[in-house]
Symmetry: C2
Subunit: 299 residues, 2 copies
DNA sequence: CACTCTTACGGCACCCGTAAGAATC
DNA sequence: GATTCTTACGGGTGCCGTAAGAGTG
C-alpha cells in the first residue's frame, strides 16, 4: 500500500471519472487505473464497481474513503508543520471568471508565487456556471466567481464585491450621461454570455426595473467587449475601477443609471468535502488580493 | 513521500539504532538509512541529528513522530477495517520466557496461525530481563513473561498465573514427600538462571522462609533441567500441570512445601508508545490461550 | 458511436542489497 | 577497534505512458 495508490483512490472516488482524477494528478488514466487496481489487490477487496458505464464506489470503497482522506490530510500536515519550506507544493487548478481573470488574476498569481514558490498554479478561465460544474466533477480545486453556488456539494464564502458601471463610446451617447429606457432601446447592449456573474446581475436589474434592451450582443471575452464598446457598437458594463481608466483615455464615457446597479458579490468556492490545508491557504491568498475592480495593467 | 519512508522513520525513531529498526522491517540497514534520507529530502529538513555516535531525533523529527504514528495507525485501520482478509499481515516478533516457550507457545502459535494466516510470527526465547531490554530497544513487538516490568516505557497486563510445584527423582527422596530445610541442604537445587520468573519467585520464597539450599545448579533450558531432576541430580521446580504428567510416568515425584510456593503471575508486555492494532489482537490471542501450566505435547 | 475503464508491452527510473568509507565513543 | 550511519555501485523490479481492447448506454 502506498500513498500514491491512496491518492489515486481518493481522487478517483471524488471525481466524476477516472480520467478527470488522472488529469488532476498529472498521470495517465491508465496509471491511475492501475494504481487503484493495485490498491484493491493489496486490500484484497474491490473498491469500485466497474459494472456500469462509470466506476462507482463499493461499500468497502465508501468505508475506505474517509480513511484515505485523513491519510492525505496527515501527509499535508507533515509537509506544512515539519517542512521548513513553509510553503505548499504540488499543483493547484482553479477556476476564474472572465472578469476576475482580467483584473484580479495577475495580482493573485504574483502573490501566490511569492508566498508559495513551489506551488504550480493552473488557472482555468470560463463562465461561473461552467466552473461550478468542473468544481463539482473534481477538475478544479477551487473557483473565484460571482455569486453563491446552489450545489450542495460546493461551499461558497464571500470574498469581495465589484461595483459595475455603464459605459459607451462618446460618439454613441453624445452629451447624454445616463442610461434611459430609450437609450437601451436604441442601442445594443453588449454583455458576457448568460451564466456570467455580471450578466446575471444585469438581467436581474433589467427585470426588476421592467426594462428591455433593443438589441443584445453577447461575447465571451471581456476585452473584446471593451473593444466593441469603444468602437461605438453599444452599451457595456464594466467594473468601476477599470472603467475609470478607459474613460481617462477618452475611449469611453461612464453612464449613470437609476437605480444604480447593485454590487456583484464574488465568492471563493470549493468542494465541501475537500479539507486539504491547501484550500485554507488559497482562501487567505484570494482574500488578501481581492480587488476585482482594478484595471488590468496591460491596458 | 511514501509510506515506506514514514515507516522507516517511525521505527528508526522508536528503536535503539537504525540497525534494530532495519531488522524489524526486514530490510538492510543501508536501505533504511536511505529511506530516511529520502524523507528528509522531501520535507527539506533534518529529522535526525547524526552528530553523535547514534542518530537522535531533531526537533522537527519529534514533531513528525506523532504524525507518522497516526499515519501508520491509519494504514493499519485500512487493512483491518476494509480488507476482507479479516486478518493481520506482516511480521510479528515477540519474546517468550523459557517456561512459556515449552508450555503455552505451541498453543499460541497454532491459535494465531488459524486466526491470522497471513501473519508471520517470530518468537524469540530468552530470560524475562533480556526480553524486556529487547522490547525497550525496539527489537520485539511484545513479550509474555513472568512479573511486571519496572521500565516506564513498557506496559504490562496480567494474563494468567502458573502454580509451581517441587519435583525430585523418586530415588532421591525415597518416601519423603515434602521439602524440608534439611532436604534443601542435602541436595542440589536446579533452577533457571537468575532473571527467570520462576527463579525470582523461588529466591523470594527462600528469603522469606529463611532457607538456603546446599548447592545450586542453574541451567537456561527447562527441558534439560527436567532431565537433570529425573536423573536424581537435585530438586526442581515445574509448573503444576506439567509435573503431573512427569509424575504419572514415574519419572519424578511431586513434593509439597510449607508454606506452598505462591503462584507466578504472567504478563503481556508491550511498549506503551506502540498503539498498533496488532498489539490489541495479540493481547487477545495471548489471553485466549493462556495456559502456562499445560504439559508440552512432545513429552 | 462516444465514453469509460482495462490490458498489453516496451522503456526507464527507482529502490534494494553488498561492500567500502567516514565518524564517533 | 567496535559500532553506527553514509556513500558508491551494479542489478533487478516495478511503475509509467502509449496504444489497443472490452464493455456500456
Amino acid at each position: 500500500m502506498t500513498l500514491k495508490q491512496l491518492e489515486a483512490f481518493y481522487w478517483a472516488a471524488t471525481s466524476a471519472t477516472f480520467l478527470v482524477a488522472a488529469q488532476r494528478l498529472h498521470v495517465s488514466q491508465s496509471s491511475l487505473s492501475k494504481r487503484i487496481a493495485e490498491l484493491e489487490g493489496q486490500l484484497r477487496c474491490g473498491l469500485f464497481d466497474r459494472g456500469g458505464h462509470r466506476a462507482v464506489l463499493t461499500e468497502a470503497g465508501q468505508k475506505l474513503l474517509p480513511l484515505a482522506r485523513r491519510m492525505l490530510g496527515l501527509a499535508d500536515e507533515m509537509r506544512t508543520q515539519v517542512a521548513q519550506s513553509s510553503g505548499l507544493q504540488g499543483h493547484c487548478r482553479f477556476g476564474v471568471g472572465e472578469l476576475a481573470a482580467l483584473t484580479w488574476l495577475p495580482d493573485f498569481v504574483a502573490f501566490v508565487r511569492a508566498e508559495y514558490p513551489d506551488l504550480v498554479l493552473e488557472p482555468y478561465v470560463d463562465l461561473g456556471a461552467a466552473l461550478e460544474q468542473r468544481l463539482d466533477s473534481g477538475e478544479l480545486d477551487f473557483a473565484v466567481i460571482a455569486g453563491y453556488s446552489s450545489r450542495s456539494a460546493i461551499a461558497s464564502e464571500a470574498i469581495g464585491e465589484v461595483r459595475f458601471a455603464w459605459a459607451a463610446a462618446p460618439a454613441l451617447v453624445r452629451r447624454q450621461r445616463s442610461v434611459t429606457a430609450r437609450l437601451l432601446q436604441e442601442t445594443a447592449l453588449i454583455t458576457m454570455p448568460a451564466g456570467a456573474g455580471a450578466t446575471r446581475l444585469l438581467e436581474h436589474w433589467l427585470a426588476v426595473n421592467n426594462l428591455e434592451p433593443g438589441r443584445r450582443l453577447t461575447c465571451n471575452n471581456l476585452a473584446a467587449i471593451a473593444g466593441l464598446v469603444a468602437a461605438g457598437v453599444g452599451l457595456g458594463l464594466f467594473p468601476h475601477g477599470w472603467l475609470r481608466q478607459m474613460a481617462e483615455r477618452g475611449a469611453v464615457v461612464e453612464l449613470r443609471s437609476r437605480p444604480p446597479l447593485p454590487p456583484l458579490e464574488y465568492t471563493f468556492q470549493w468542494r465541501r468535502d475537500d479539507t486539504r490545508g491547501l484550500l485554507a491557504r488559497m482562501r487567505e491568498a484570494v482574500a488578501a488580493t481581492a480587488d476585482f475592480s482594478k484595471p488590468n495593467p496591460i491596458w
